[in-house]
């Protein structure tokens, strides 16, 4: 089906610490294109672990994962890096901007890595994204000179620079006050409604989750409800 953005089939993951602990049990989910999905659950239920498996960064799992109709399970690390670069954007709880670079450069770097556009075009796009989040006047400042809310907005702009099919958030509003949380939520909604991008976030924020299109609830490594 063409309108499936992400599909996982029977994903199992075991942590091999002192005792073998199965953190993910037979997880099969489907996320449609343009959907805004929240994954909720108690701490330690495996929701972040699931997100990192879905993001292709964690390759130590059983089962299979498809992104935009392509099976990514079993690809080499370098191929996965390319897939992340092109079709997945990340927003983390912390902004993780590179402090030595300006905000503009931070936003540009993933696109420069992709190398599809010239530096000039990338710069224009980066400005456009920063404008969307109302931080274009901070563009030439070093990333560590901004306030927390501004930094998070720059980080989201960075996640969007390559127009990824899927945007993944690991508690993207975890460090923000309610006002900034509102701004981020509205932007996410706009992205799904107007640009047809898919958003999958892990969150503790119930209000945030309730407003999204669908809530996937997890407990003890299993999916309790697909929403």
């Amino acid at each position: 089906m063409a309108d499936i953005a992400l599909k996982s089939t029977g994903i199992n993951k075991v942590f091999h610490d002192a005792v073998n602990l199965q953190v993910l049990k037979n997880i099969s989910i489907e996320v449609k294109k343009g959907e805004f999905v929240s994954i909720v659950g108690k701490s330690g239920c495996g929701k972040s672990t699931l997100l990192y498996v879905l993001s292709t960064m964690d390759t130590d799992y059983e089962g299979s994962l498809e992104i935009a109709g392509t099976t990514v399970t079993g690809k080499t690390l370098n191929e996965l890096a390319r897939i992340r670069n092109e079709s997945i954007g990340f927003v983390f709880q912390f902004h993780y901007l590179l402090p030595d670079f300006t905000c503009l450069k931070n936003v540009m770097i993933p696109a420069l890595r992709l190398g599809k556009l010239s530096t000039k075009e990338v710069e224009a796009r980066a400005y456009e994204k920063l404008k969307m989040f109302g931080v274009e006047d901070q563009a030439l400042k070093k990333a560590n000179k901004l306030s927390g809310g501004q930094q998070q907005r720059v980080a989201i702009a960075r996640a969007l620079i390559n127009d990824p099919t899927i945007i993944m958030g690991d508690e993207p509003t975890g460090n923000l006050d309610s006002k900034n949380t509102g701004i981020v939520f509205d932007l996410f909604q706009k992205l799904t409604k107007e640009f047809g991008q898919t958003i999958i976030t892990v969150t503790h924020d119930e209000d945030f989750a309730k407003k999204s299109d669908r809530i996937i609830e997890m407990a003890d490594g299993e999916i309790k409800s697909h929403g």
């Binding site: 993001s55 960064m57 390319r82 897939i83 092109e86 997945i88 993780y96 770097i109 890595r113």
Partner: protein, 414 residues
């Protein structure tokens, strides 16, 4: 040219930590400037000693050597196919001196590699002044040719070496002889060769080489005088001294001459084996010092890059999350090492040249050596840069590989 994003990140990291970058580059700089300085000193010294040895030794010396008896006379006498064995063969006395020396000289001059040829008569003598006698040897030479080949003029202390051509019975003596017999220019000296009668000669000049043994025994006379001392005729020549265009070819040319003339041709390498050994020992010492310096510089770079990676581990993780592959991350950090190497290399070349130049102006004043011999030899500079960059790449490789193996999930999740 479009700068790749890896390069851009590498350069930003370097310029964000200018102090550390500068310190790392300084390590390389010291390594490279020391490399250049030491190589220049070594080559300068070696060249100097080589030149010094050519002040007394020709590239090739042709002389007659006694031979061990072999069975060819026996063969031509018996004229049968039996195998002849000589037990306990003895040395055969050859006629002293070379047969037809001027014919040989003409022959040798035809060799295209040969630059200068001059005959010499060597006589073992006893110098007498008053009641004191010392042993020594007289080199009967054509002083103009000798000066051209060995730069006798540069060793002269007093007197004029050209007086050998003008003054009958003139003699140039070493400084050691002059001191021992308390002789000055213009004094008379009695010279006795083993087979000839005592001759009174006049000191026309005194020379000093850096070799004490030479100064205490050697003197120069006109070749005709030396022949007279020995009571020999004008065709008597004991040695033919040959300088060739490229002294590195001496062993090979010597072999050719030996085959053509049938006499022993000794090249300067054979005559100066201790010099060659000294070159080799010096090379080992200096190369180990240079090696250690570059190793230390390499560790400096390794350390600094390792620290950078610890500090930036979250940033590396985030770059990987955004789709930077392992090789891209390796390239970012390896490039940092290379730029440090290039910076250190360029400054190191300049410093190395500066140090070499300054040291070459230090007055030493030992013997004929006035200033420290330093060579300014371009390949040293090229070698230095290559070694420097090689060291930095080797030092940067391991941290860079470590960075490329950073697992973004463990770092980001903490």
């Amino acid at each position: 040219m479009k700068i790749s994003v890896n390069t851009e990140i590498a350069l930003t990291y370097l310029s964000a930590r200018k102090k550390q970058t500068a310190i790392a580059a300084m390590g390389v700089m010291f390594g490279i400037s020391m490399f250049i300085f030491m190589q220049s000193l070594m080559k300068g010294t070696n060249d100097y000693f080589e030149k010094m040895s050519f002040n007394s030794t020709p590239h090739i010396r042709l002389y007659s050597e006694n031979k061990v008896a072999d069975n060819h006379m026996l063969k031509s006498y018996l004229k049968d196919p039996s195998v002849k064995i000589l037990t306990n063969p003895k040395q055969l006395i050859q006629t002293q001196g070379l047969n037809n020396p001027y014919g040989l000289i003409r022959e040798i001059q035809h060799n295209p590699q040969v630059a200068n040829v001059t005959p010499q008569v060597t006589a073992d003598v006893i110098y007498t002044s008053g009641s004191v006698q010392i042993n020594g040897n007289v080199a009967g030479v054509n002083i103009d040719a000798e000066d051209k080949m060995f730069d006798v003029q540069s060793n002269m202390v007093t007197g004029d070496l050209h007086d050998l051509n003008r003054v009958n019975n003139g003699l140039l003596i070493g400084k050691g002889i002059a001191d021992k017999l308390s002789l000055h220019v213009g004094d008379n000296i009695t010279v006795t060769a083993g087979t000839g009668s005592p001759t009174i000669m006049r000191v026309v000049g005194i020379f000093a080489t850096t070799v004490k043994q030479v100064d205490e025994t050697k003197s120069y006379a006109n070749i005709v005088q030396a022949q007279n001392l020995l009571g020999k005729d004008r065709s008597y020549v004991t040695d033919i001294k040959i300088n060739i265009k490229d002294y590195n070819n001496a062993p090979q040319v010597a072999k050719e001459l030996e085959t053509i003339t049938g006499y022993k041709a000794e090249d300067w390498v054979q005559a100066n084996e201790q010099l060659k050994a000294a070159f080799k020992i010096r090379a080992v010492i200096l190369n180990s010092v240079i090696g250690v310096i570059l190793l230390v510089a390499g560790f400096g770079i390794y350390n600094i890059l390792n620290m950078t990676i610890y500090e930036k581990i979250k940033e590396i993780a985030i770059l990987k999350a955004q789709g930077f592959s392992g090789p891209a991350v390796t390239s970012i950090f390896l490039q940092q090492a290379i730029y440090i190497g290039i910076m250190g290399g360029l400054v190191g070349i300049t410093c190395g040249f500066g140090i070499t130049y300054m040291v070459s102006r230090i007055y030493i004043g030992a013997g004929t050596l006035k200033y420290l011999p330093m060579s300014f030899y371009i390949p040293h500079y090229i070698e230095a840069v290559c070694f420097g960059i090689l060291t930095t790449v080797a030092a940067g490789f391991f941290p860079a590989r470590k960075a490329s193996k950073v697992d973004p999930v463990t770092i980001i999740r903490g």
